[in-house]
């Protein structure tokens, strides 16, 4: 997957490039709007991460040229502070998502993966089998090692989120936003408690764990044995 990052701030640009490269993407970094505009118009990318505050050709212009040229590349723009007008403008111009600066890298990664998956969302089949965990999404039935597990509605939504984004590190803020529609940092460890309770039902009785805590970042759902085998 090829990603173009247009970001004039060198340090930010470099760590975005490093982080995304290490996450397995092919990253092109442009440190000014002119270069970025050229790359965006002449090459083909799966996603463009666009800082809108650029000294020469600003992000809006790149976005506009891109859409006028009929390119439907997904665009995620980075905007300073929480200026609502900026957000509205970006989405009206045809951007797919935005992130407010300063952001945490895990958040960016989660959104990037989300955007790249968009086209293939329906690929998650109705019946999912991960290791010995069986999930029937339409009927909300879950069983592990043949034993029925009963989940509350929100617990099921949490599990579904984990399954859809297998192998990704999900920050707590993203979990709160996707499952409960709470878009702020809570003072409490609500997410930790909720994940712990889901774990108690799914993982605790089994040696083969599926939900993993990634310290300092969030949670990851993965069949590690399978993942290791693939390596």
């Amino acid at each position: 997957m090829r990603i173009l990052v247009v970001e004039d701030e060198q340090k930010t640009g470099n760590y975005i490039k490093q982080g995304l490269t290490e996450a397995g993407f092919l990253v092109t970094l442009s440190s000014n709007g002119l270069d970025g505009h050229h790359h965006a118009m002449t090459e083909s990318f799966d996603l463009i991460i666009l800082d809108v505050m650029l000294p020469d050709v600003d992000g809006w212009k790149i976005l506009r040229s891109l859409r006028e040229a009929g390119k439907q590349t997904s665009v995620l723009f980075l905007t300073a502070r929480d200026s609502i007008t900026d957000r509205v403008k970006g989405l009206e111009l045809g951007a797919d998502d935005y992130l407010i600066k300063p952001f945490v890298f895990v958040e960016l990664l989660a959104r990037v993966r989300n955007l790249l998956r968009r086209g293939s969302l329906s690929n998650v089949s109705e019946q999912v089998k991960i290791a010995d965990l069986l999930v029937d999404i339409p009927s909300r039935k879950v069983s592990r090692a043949g034993k029925r597990v009963s989940l509350s509605q929100k617990e099921f939504l949490l599990l579904e989120l984990f399954i859809r984004r297998q192998g990704e590190v999900l920050p707590r803020s993203l979990i709160a936003s996707e499952v409960w529609d709470m878009n702020f940092d809570s003072d409490t460890n609500v997410i930790d408690v909720a994940v712990r309770r889901l774990r108690a039902k799914i993982d605790d009785d089994h040696d083969h764990k599926l939900i993993h805590t990634i310290r300092g970042m969030g949670y990851k759902f993965e069949d590690e044995i399978e993942a290791d085998e693939q390596l």
Partner: protein, 463 residues
């Protein structure tokens, strides 16, 4: 513009203009009145005398039976006893029949209209070459023969007296005016002395002595209200200033703790070569502190924006019940773990509010309640419509009472009832301050009450 100019005019000058014109005007009026009445008095006196003279001339004319030669001597006697009064008698034809001695000036008069009856309004003033005269012309009919009697008197004396009197009068009034205006000015000046004292007292108050108050005892009644208002303002300022100072001190303290942790950990970590695991551990530990710092800074930034009215709520119609239910779902796991029941009581009420902000505010209240509720008890959220345009939401949790000393400060930034709690991971103590700021931007109010059983946070919001 004019009213602005008037309002900036010196108070002393303004009062002096008003008082001065009032005093001046009344003095002028009294001078004119006195002058008029003196003049009138003289005129009346003169009229009486002229009437007497005219009367005796008439009687004499009657007694001489038209024999003018006989009359000469008699007429001369007619005015004896009336010093300074002269007269002239004309025949109907206009021919001068008699002129009293010393009355030469009367011959200078030619066309004098005579009236049949005598009346004060017929008094005439003549200014002739040698002086001022006042006279009365009367038509007298004796034995079918008409005469015209003109009696007159020299007025120069009166005039001189009047002129002198007028000058004296004006001088006297001038003196009175100067004295009264001076006294007024002195009074006003004295009257403003308390103002000067007040301004001196105010000037002496510095930021480090906001606990000073103006001394009301030395002020006149009129200024006492001003001083009371000023003292109240000082009190607000003192409170805010103290809060601000505490806030800065708290920021420094709250930032220093994680920073010191990071620095110490890193220094210790770098003191010798360690295993990869230990380095990772160090970075994780640093990351946790840094996240705390970042969260605190972004919350402080949010509060600063809210202080400067930069947080603009986006209003939508919101169903309060379902909002609270969704929050309950969010906190469900946490509450269950603490063995706490969440109960919602209330009517279905919708209102205009910013959903995201309101969730944040209520979430802080709920997490605060969960934190302070003992296991096995119930937290109630009660929604009720108090008045037509006001909805009340109570967050009621059982637990240790908060003393009134703390109660008034729970919404202060960084304020924590239990100081020992500050080191745990439950945030820096900005949650309730943020909640209050959100409620404020919605035009609502938040209060807290606590008795031996419950603590109640009450939010009142316009629907």
């Amino acid at each position: 513009m004019n009213s602005y100019k008037l309002s900036t005019l010196s108070l002393t000058l303004r009062l002096m203009i008003f008082a001065g014109s009032a005093i001046g005007l009344s003095l002028i009026i009294s001078v004119v009145l006195v002058q008029e009445s003196v003049k009138n008095h003289f005129a009346e006196q003169d009229f009486g005398e002229l009437l007497v003279v005219t009367g005796s001339v008439e009687r004499w004319l009657d007694s001489i039976d038209g024999n003018m030669r006989l009359a000469q001597d008699a007429l001369s006697n007619a005015v004896s006893g009336h010093h300074g009064v002269y007269f002239r008698v004309d025949a109907d034809s206009g021919e001068q029949l008699f002129l009293s001695q010393g009355g030469d000036f009367l011959s200078q008069l030619n066309h004098v209209d005579a009236a049949k009856s005598t009346n004060k309004t017929q008094l005439k003033n003549w200014q002739l070459d040698d002086g001022f005269y006042r006279g009365l012309a009367t038509e007298v009919s004796v034995d079918g023969q008409s005469y015209r009697v003109i009696a007159a008197m020299d007025m120069s004396f009166h005039k001189q007296f009047l002129d002198k009197f007028t000058i004296k009068m004006w001088l006297m009034m001038l003196a009175i005016g100067v004295i009264t205006i001076g006294a007024t000015w002195l009074g006003i000046y004295q009257g403003y002395r308390p103002l000067k004292m007040l301004s001196k007292q105010i000037r002496n108050i510095q930021t480090h002595q906001l606990d000073e108050r103006l001394n009301l005892d030395i002020l006149p009644k009129e200024l006492r209200n001003l001083a009371i208002s000023f003292n109240e303002m000082l009190q607000h300022l003192e409170g805010d200033f103290e809060r601000l100072s505490n806030f800065s001190a708290d920021i420094a303290h709250e930032l220093r703790t994680p920073l010191t942790n990071i620095i110490t950990q890193t220094q210790v970590g770098l003191a010798q070569t360690r295993s990869l695991n230990e380095y990772q551990e160090l970075l994780y530990s640093n990351l946790e502190e840094q996240e705390r710092l970042a969260k605190m800074v972004s919350e402080m930034l949010w509060l600063a924006q809210s202080d400067n009215n930069l947080i603009k709520p986006v209003f939508n119609v919101i169903d309060l019940n379902s909002e609270v239910n969704e929050l309950f779902e969010f906190f469900d796991a946490l509450a269950t773990e603490h063995q706490i029941n969440l109960v919602l009581i209330g009517e279905k009420i919708s209102m205009h509010a910013d959903r995201a902000l309101l969730r944040r505010a209520f979430s802080n209240l709920l997490s605060n309640a969960i934190r302070h509720t003992p296991p096995g008890s119930t937290i109630q959220v009660v929604i009720s419509q108090r008045e037509k345009k006001c909805v009340e939401i109570d967050f009621i949790n059982p637990g240790k009472p908060i003393s009134s000393h703390h109660l008034s400060r729970v919404f202060d930034r960084f304020y924590q009832v239990d100081k020992s709690r500050s080191s745990d991971s439950q945030g820096a103590g900005l949650g309730l301050a943020i909640t209050k700021a959100i409620i404020d931007t919605h035009g609502g109010q938040i209060t807290v009450a606590s008795d031996s059983v419950h603590t109640v946070f009450t939010v009142r919001m316009p629907v």
